[in-house]
């Protein structure tokens, strides 16, 4: 019976040839092997996000008047609502963290070398989408922290030269954070960005499957190369990691349930020490400490332009790193990467533990 069904599908969709492809596919084994797991972890957490997000959608009401109450309802009245909401919030944060690790590990292993330029580009777009999902999702509970953090965040976007005020108005749906903001953030969070993420993720995964995992430069000249089968050996290892992550996610959600906070009051003054989510804090801190004027230019504008240039450089990295294109090392770029990590850590530290103004 099973064979008959299999044959029916195989005749139409060439399942055997796909199975043969996966059966032959291997994953290089070396001392940096562990970093390969982070792509899978990010994917797993994205799936958790989609599933828990759909469950939250059954009860969530995207309006300034009802959003907070509906999340409160989910947390207090809906069976296991507290768990679903907590898992959604925790896995969102872990997904961003995992995406950061995956990005930097690919950077240091120079996985963007030819022929994997497009894999890197789709990956960097995925990274931006993940950040966008975090930014738009943060406002949705409509609590005090998220409201004012979004206010500050969109205010910063308003400082972009020429088009800043338009971007701010488009993001907010008007001059201020209001009902119009929450509905468009909701649309972006549950429709636009997930579709974009799914599309880029599809491309990213197809490329990874077709081209295989990138080997670090140190492995190219290694005469004693090792590898393992992708299916089932690597995939089963992935499953172990996912199970452990899932257990950790459950533990975090139960022991440290995600707080709801106070309902946002648009007419109250911005509370002291308001900060965006931790993954944006380093940018926020940079803009905070940057001098008001640098030569003739506005410091904040220069900062924002700097972030824009850094983002562009990130996407275009496969074409910028001409040494990697020739399969050569360039320690300067690796040092630059370490400096960027240290800078992010330092700014994040200063934002949370430095002198508060």
């Amino acid at each position: 019976m099973f064979q008959k069904i299999y044959n029916w599908f195989d005749e139409r969709y060439q399942i055997t040839s796909s199975r043969d492809f996966f059966a032959k596919k291997t994953v290089p084994v070396h001392k940096h092997f562990v970093w390969y797991y982070f792509g899978g972890i990010t994917l797993f957490l994205f799936i958790v996000q989609v599933v828990t997000g759909i469950l939250l959608l059954f009860y969530y009401k995207p309006s300034a008047a009802e959003a907070f109450e509906s999340v409160k309802f989910i947390m207090t009245r809906v069976e296991f609502g507290w768990l679903i909401r907590s898992i959604h919030s925790w896995s969102a944060n872990l997904m961003v963290f995992s995406a950061f690790v995956h990005l930097f590990s690919a950077f240091f292993l120079k996985s963007y070398r030819p022929p994997r330029e497009a894999t890197w580009i789709t990956g960097s777009f995925l990274f931006f989408i993940v950040m966008g999902l975090g930014f738009t999702g943060y406002l949705l509970p409509w609590n005090e922290l998220s409201f004012f953090a979004t206010k500050v965040g969109t205010q910063i976007a308003g400082a972009v030269p020429v088009v800043g005020s338009y971007i701010r108005t488009i993001l907010r749906g008007g001059e201020e954070i209001s009902d119009a903001t929450i509905t468009r953030f909701f649309a972006l969070h549950v429709m636009v960005l997930p579709i974009a993420a799914a599309a880029f993720m599809g491309l990213h995964l197809i490329m990874v499957q077709l081209q295989g995992m990138s080997e670090p430069l140190s492995q190219i000249s290694n005469p004693d190369k090792k590898s393992m089968k992708f299916f089932p050996n690597f995939l089963l290892r992935d499953v172990i990691v996912w199970l452990i992550i899932f257990a950790g996610l459950l533990a975090l959600s139960v022991i440290f349930p995600w707080e709801l906070g106070k309902k946002a009051d648009p007419f109250s003054p911005t509370p002291l020490g308001i900060k965006p989510e931790w993954y944006f804090v380093w940018m926020f801190q940079t803009l905070k400490i940057i001098p008001a004027k640098i030569l003739l230019f506005d410091g904040e504008v220069l900062g924002i332009l700097g972030f824009g240039a850094a983002g562009l450089a990130l996407v275009m990295l496969p074409f910028i790193d001409i040494w990697a294109r020739k399969e050569k090392r360039n320690p300067l770029l690796s040092i630059l990467g370490i400096c960027v990590i240290l800078y992010i850590l330092l700014m994040t530290y200063l934002a949370y533990f430095g002198p508060q103004k």
Partner: protein, 414 residues
């Protein structure tokens, strides 16, 4: 030649016109007094902030005379209505020339009261003034002179938060008040009171000043019978409960002032539950003896309130404990807030002096506090339950992971 004469004629005409214009605009009272010293100069230094001056009035509108004349004998010609400085005792009627004239005052402000002079004559100040007392307060004693500001100007001495100090400038001066035989410690007491704290330290303009109880232009001693009405201006529910209570008739028959008997007057302190009952600082035992019904009522009301307070405290602890472990407790907080409202209400209902009325409210409060306590305890139990089940689920997941590990090991051994 002809045109030269015409030109000179125009210049002379223009110069003469300009000079006349300047003279017409010039107020020689101010110009001249500015050049003098001491008290003669002082009015010119404050006149620009004066509400009358800002509305286009000047010295001559009160003092008479002709301000367009540079020569002072011409300017201060009694034939031109010059009055000069009025006698202190005449000041109320001096100001009243305009301020008691509705037709005149309407030009400046259609809503301004014009009964100040009539009220003043009814006041203790006015009565003494009419008896020829030259020390008693007149308009300028409170409003100032030559720099008079509107009552809603924070710099005005009659601005609500400045009133106590304005009144105290005379009433707290023992030497000045010596001959009137009235106390001079009102300000000292008011500063320490709950009203003084709110008005003077917190800047709460809703808090009462001297005039809120005593009146302003008609300032008088509140007679014993009027005290309750005065307090009722703000504490209306409390007064309402009091008038329906048996205490009302008792106070009336004994001639005891209503609110003041327990709360005092200028030195009204923040109320506390210690004022109730039959121990320590309780005010009830000032009148009620141990064998009286009122004594027992006071004790019962105190017990009811203490029971509610104790229950709220327990509930607060239970809710806090649940919040500290991250449970969502806003519903319980809502119940707790309602229980606290019951406590506030029960404190107000003490003025019914009925233990049944107070107990009805405290019982409702205890019900709400118990509801919150129950939610807090259930949340803590739920948290424990979650942790236990978490341990089970995590163990199953890790077991599954271990099984996959064994599978890989077995597979790779072959």
């Amino acid at each position: 030649m002809h045109s030269k004469f015409i030109f000179i004629f125009i210049i002379v005409l223009a110069a003469g016109f300009t000079a006349n214009l300047e003279a017409a605009e010039k107020d020689y009272c101010i110009e001249c007094h500015k050049t003098l010293d001491g008290s003669a100069k002082e009015p010119t230094e404050r006149i620009e902030g004066d509400v009358h001056f800002k509305r286009g009035l000047s010295c001559s509108d009160c003092h008479g005379g002709d301000p367009t004349k540079e020569d002072f004998t011409e300017a201060k010609d009694p034939a031109k209505g010059f009055i000069g400085k009025p006698k202190r005792g005449d000041i109320p009627s001096f100001c009243g020339r305009c301020h008691a004239d509705p037709a005149y005052m309407r030009k400046y402000n259609p809503n301004i009261p014009t009964d100040q002079l009539a009220k003043y004559h009814e006041s203790q100040h006015g009565k003494l003034n009419m008896q020829g007392d030259q020390k008693v307060a007149v308009c300028i004693s409170c409003h100032g002179v030559h720099g008079i500001r509107e009552a809603n100007d924070p710099q005005a001495p009659v601005f609500i938060s400045n009133i106590p100090r304005t009144c105290a400038s005379c009433h707290a001066d023992k030497e000045y008040m010596k001959e009137y035989s009235i106390p001079t410690n009102q300000m000292e007491e008011f500063e320490k009171s709950v009203h003084g704290e709110a008005l003077l330290n917190k800047g709460d303009r809703g808090a009462p000043a001297c005039t809120s109880c005593h009146g302003s232009h008609d300032a008088a001693l509140p007679r014993a019978i009027a005290v309750g009405n005065i307090c009722a201006q703000c504490h209306s529910l409390t007064r309402d409960l009091f008038t329906k209570s048996p205490h009302k008739a008792a106070h009336d028959s004994l001639g005891i002032p209503e609110c003041e008997a327990c709360h005092g007057n200028h030195n009204i302190m923040r109320t506390s539950d210690e004022m109730l009952g039959n121990t320590g600082q309780a005010v009830c035992i000032k009148c009620h003896t141990a064998d009286s019904k009122g004594y027992a009522q006071a004790s019962s009301m105190k017990n009811a309130i203490e029971a509610l307070k104790g229950d709220i405290k327990e509930s607060e602890n239970a809710v806090e404990m649940a919040e500290n472990i991250g449970m969502e407790m806003s519903d319980a907080r809502f119940d707790l807030d309602e229980a606290k409202n019951s406590l506030t209400k029960s404190r107000t209902y003490i003025h019914t002096f009925s233990k049944e009325a107070v107990e009805e409210i405290t019982k409702a409060g205890i019900g709400l506090a118990d509801k919150a306590k129950d939610k807090g305890r259930k949340a803590v139990a739920e948290f424990d339950f979650r942790r236990k089940w978490l341990a089970v689920v995590v163990a199953i997941i890790l077991l599954l992971a271990f099984a996959v590990y064994l599978k890989i090991r077995g597979m790779e051994k072959k």
